[in-house]
């Protein structure tokens, strides 16, 4: 083993390198003594760099040697190199003073480096957490990033990065623990709302104390214990992980004599009122409130009060108008009972069946009624806030209030002029009256304004290896070999055919010539229309992703040889529904089409029904055994003149049903994370896919198409 250099040897070298900045009061011997404590390898490294740096500036070299030992104490050699290079960079750009300061601040540098190394940013985990939360809760909760971790029961906010621990693994676990803990606050009713005031109980309770900050801290720590004990039953593994993450995770409130007081929050049926009662007991005692655990996040009473208020009002109005509509539709279209709706007698109950699943029962004038999916969801959300449906919610909204957004539209469409060229009229379904509004929508076919076809080339380049994969997998599909039996020629003998002809062969009769097996591809005989959402909300990323999807898709379809057409759609009001031709069935995928794909731009609104009806008509005209209509969209049907909410959804659903009756398979690809609320109702449970990340869209669309047609 090589031996370290001794101090004298080092001093000699340093004198040589740093001579210019040494003086009687600043000699090399102190430095040399420090360096003599390093490993041989480190010494050589230090002297080498001292030489390199001194060629730029001797003072920098001096500072370097003075601090390199600290550097080695805090970092490995690679990081020490980074430190040197960064400091030299500062020196080059900003001069000696900031440069030497960078060398002196080696500790700060090392600390920053280690933090950065192990920190986990939000963007890296949000995809996983979305799925995790969906799986654990069965609900689509929105997850967003914010400065602090907290929840308003509609959205879970998580910090932009976690760097609490010196390990990515632990920081990731911290994200997961925090997310689940906030989920538990929603699930176990931490912010349950007082039906009398519309304000969460906890907000009102905390506000009563002279020192609300202390009260909130006590509440948080009591509620923390309550939630942990509930989670223990369902997610014991996570609770164990949480304990490992936070030393204070288990009941640090456990002081003498408290255990009895805390008993209620250990019960499986505890609720937030128990925590509030305990808070009241503890507030006046002289106790130390424990630090909150690292995954606890914060409770922002002001924001919660605000968000709750808005939601409560919104849902109350919605529930009551839904109820009014339900009552009217049950009374039947003929009976004229307008104005009497307030007198309908409504009761509501939630039953637990044997399997522990809860079932909602609504009774209208003694008649049990099944809640429409949409309304059941509102009911669920209300129950989450209040623990029940409060009495005043069970009064249907009066005077046809719910129809106000449609009233303006009641007058029949004006007499149609002669059908102008390229103008089409379609009926629209009014679910409340259960009839079609005749010729309600006016649709025009327009050409998309072409842009530069280079854009398409650029996309192909960007995805070049993906394109290769896509081509390969679609080729495989095309070449999906089927055995064609009883052919007049082929690669193999058809034993079955021979055996059958055996008697003929034996007796010298005429033998059939269909004795071969051919492996050949069956004609796919499939025609597909893509209808692409060009509504205003697709602006930005979504529009880009749609464009990229179309490019990749066209590649795939070219390989496959399926007949296809692409249309964009948008519009504003029923008088101006617009369909943009991108590629018709007759056109081939040429530079014109490419330029149109390049040119797709976000427009206005999304009135889907009329578009589906129009494209259905186009598809039936094509001669194909299987016809598919695929929608690529970013949200619910929505137009300016009342075409939203249930009305839009029901018309779209009706249009899709018409398409199905015409033998068309509709399918929807969407990036709307709320889509699970309405797409199953519109398209059916298996006929849609939600792509959680826009960036994944281009890849997914081809993938889905492949799955869909094999």
């Amino acid at each position: 083993m090589r031996r370290q250099l001794r101090a004298v040897q080092i001093e000699e070298k340093l004198d040589e390198l740093l001579g210019a900045v040494l003086s009687p009061s600043r000699t090399a011997s102190g430095l040399a003594r420090k360096l003599s404590g390093l490993e041989k390898e480190q010494q050589e490294f230090a002297l080498h760099w001292a030489g390199v740096i001194s060629r730029s500036n001797s003072e920098m070299a001096y500072q370097f040697v003075d601090h390199v030992c600290d550097g080695f104490r805090l970092m490995d050699m690679d990081d020490v190199t980074k430190w040197i290079i960064e400091a030299m960079d500062v020196y080059d750009r900003q001069g000696l003073y900031p440069g030497s300061a960078s060398l002196r601040e080696v500790e700060t540098y090392a600390a920053k480096l280690s933090q950065k190394r192990h920190s986990v940013p939000f963007e890296d985990v949000v995809g996983i957490l979305n799925k995790y939360v969906k799986g654990v809760s069965g609900r689509d909760l929105d997850i967003q990033s914010d400065a602090q971790a907290w929840t308003d029961t509609e959205t879970i906010y998580l910090p932009t990065s976690f760097k609490w621990f010196d390990s990515e693994q632990l920081n990731f676990q911290l994200y997961k623990a925090t997310g689940t803990f906030l989920l538990a606050q929603t699930r176990y009713g931490t912010f349950r709302v007082d039906p009398n005031t519309g304000v969460p109980f906890v907000c009102a309770a905390i506000a009563q104390y002279r020192d609300p900050t202390r009260a909130l801290r006590i509440f948080e720590s009591v509620e923390h214990m309550r939630l942990l004990s509930l989670m223990q039953a369902e997610l014991p593994g996570l609770v164990r992980q949480m304990g490992e993450l936070s030393a204070s995770a288990d009941s640090s409130l456990e002081i003498d004599g408290l255990s009895e007081l805390l008993e209620p929050i250990r019960r499986p049926d505890s609720d937030v009122m128990d925590s509030i009662r305990i808070l009241n007991e503890l507030y006046h005692r002289n106790i130390n409130v424990p630090e909150s655990a690292c995954y606890q996040g914060i409770v922002d009473l002001e924001k919660i009060r605000h968000v709750t208020r808005k939601r409560v009002d919104r849902e109350k109005e919605k529930f009551r108008s839904d109820l009014a509509m339900l009552a009217e539709s049950l009374a039947g279209p003929d009976e004229n009972n307008e104005g009497e709706q307030g007198k309908v007698n409504v009761t509501f109950a939630v039953d637990e069946d044997d399997a522990g699943e809860s079932e909602m029962m609504l009774m209208l004038d003694g008649q049990p009624v099944v809640l429409p999916e949409d309304m059941a969801q509102t009911a669920n959300s209300i129950i989450q806030d209040f623990g029940e449906i409060p009495q005043e919610y069970l009064v249907p909204a009066g005077d046809g209030q719910y129809r106000k957004d449609l009233q303006a539209d009641e007058e029949p469409p004006e007499e149609k002029k002669n059908k102008t060229e390229g103008m089409f009229y379609y009926d629209e379904w009014d679910f409340r009256r259960r009839h079609y509004r005749k010729n309600w929508c006016e649709l025009r076919e327009l050409d998309i304004h072409p842009s530069n076809e280079q854009v398409v080339e650029a996309i192909l380049n960007k995805y070049s290896h993906l394109v290769r994969d896509i081509r390969k997998s679609f080729e495989a599909l095309r070449g999906d070999n089927k055995m064609l039996r009883r052919q007049t020629n082929g690669d193999d003998i058809d034993i079955d055919a021979i055996v059958e002809s055996y008697p003929d062969i034996h007796e010298g009769n005429e033998v059939t010539d269909r004795l071969f097996i051919k492996s050949g591809r069956l004609e796919r005989n499939l025609a597909v229309v893509f209808m692409v959402d060009l509504s205003g909300s697709t602006k930005g990323w979504i529009n880009d992703a749609e464009r990229e999807s179309l490019v990749l898709l066209s590649e795939a379809l070219q390989t496959l040889g399926d007949r296809y057409a692409i249309y964009g759609f948008s519009g504003m009001t029923r008088k101006r529904c617009e369909l943009y031709r991108i590629k018709t069935f007759e056109e081939s995928y040429d530079s014109t089409v490419k330029a149109r794909i390049a040119g797709i731009k976000p427009q206005d609104y999304t009135r889907m029904g009329v578009i589906i009806r129009h494209l259905t008509r186009k598809l039936i005209e094509v001669d194909a055994r299987t016809r598919v209509l695929i929608t690529i969209s970013d949200g619910k049907p929505d137009d300016y003149d009342g075409y939203r909410g249930e009305y839009g959804i029901e018309d779209t659903r009706q249009a899709l049903m018409e398409a199905k009756h015409a033998g068309i398979h509709p399918y929807c690809i969407t990036i709307d994370s709320q889509a699970h609320d309405y797409l199953p109702h519109m398209y059916g449970h298996v006929n849609y896919t939600v792509v959680s990340d826009v960036r994944g869209l281009p890849l997914k669309v081809s993938d889905i198409y492949r799955k869909l047609t094999t």
Partner: protein, 268 residues
């Protein structure tokens, strides 16, 4: 290739089957009335097991055919073979089941080619007969004969839809993954696993099913939960068992894998 004795197909020991609803009574009355049956449901939810149970209960042979896209009509009905220099007709599984008056179960019927599917049409309406074109025979099904087909409506492929003219001949029984309690007892019975592990596995199953449509094509089936339970009883650590028999089986996507693994680690 074909077994000759229908006895080979009979089920002598009572199969364990935990009913999800009234499917047993419905099947019995369909059988009594000569109505063919369509089992709808996702993979691994007990359809095959149900058929075994019904065959045992009715004391009838059960002939099962797993359909695939190369399955021809003669694969079902029968074909000539050469035996000792002579051609000899041999019944296919469907003809065999008709002759002995047993149960014929066509698993995953949509996988079969469309032209194959039509051979069951005359059997599945009130003619209850199977024309054997090649021999010119018309086989009449005895009263005890039953035709059952299965179909997974979760398939998204537009090419694999069951034609109306086919489906409208059948009585449909809908299967789904069993309710939590029931699934738990199935695991306890099938894998001899204790109540606590069974209940945790069932909750894991439900979590993965929540992801159906947002990343996963299908959640964990009862069959996969049984697999995991068996591994755990065998001494494999629960997380490893879940990972190997469920998580990795469901997906290859890294994001899905992590999310599902984290669900498991939260549970155990």
């Amino acid at each position: 290739m074909y077994r000759r004795e229908s006895e080979d197909y009979s089920i002598r020991v009572e199969p364990y089957y935990a009913p999800q609803g009234s499917e047993i009574e419905l099947f019995l009355s369909a059988h009594r009335n000569g109505i063919p049956v369509l089992l709808k449901g996702p993979t691994g939810c007990g359809k095959t097991r149900f058929m075994e149970y019904m065959a045992w209960k009715l004391n009838l042979p059960l002939v099962t055919v797993a359909c695939h896209d190369d399955l021809t009509a003669s694969d079902l009905v029968g074909r000539y073979l050469i035996v000792g220099g002579e051609t000899q007709w041999v019944d296919g599984p469907l003809a065999r089941a008709v002759r002995v008056g047993g149960i014929c179960y066509l698993d995953e019927i949509v996988e079969a080619r469309k032209d194959t599917t039509v051979v069951i049409h005359p059997l599945a309406d009130n003619r209850r007969a199977l024309p054997v074109e090649k021999t010119g025979e018309l086989l009449h099904a005895p009263d005890s004969f039953n035709l059952t087909i299965s179909y997974n409506p979760g398939y998204q492929s537009v090419l694999k839809d069951l034609k109306q003219s086919t489906r409208q001949r059948f009585l449909s029984l809908e299967f789904d993954y069993p309710e939590n309690e029931l699934e738990q007892s199935i695991l306890m019975h099938e894998a001899k696993v204790d109540r606590e592990i069974a209940s945790t596995l069932v909750r894991f199953g439900v979590m993965t099913r929540n992801l159906k449509g947002s990343g996963l094509e299908e959640g964990a089936s009862t069959r996969l939960l049984v697999h995991a339970a068996k591994l755990i009883v065998f001494g494999i650590a629960p997380l490893d068992a879940c990972n190997a028999s469920i998580t990795q089986t469901l997906t290859d996507d890294p994001e899905n894998l992590t999310a599902i693994r984290e669900m498991a680690s939260s549970l155990f």
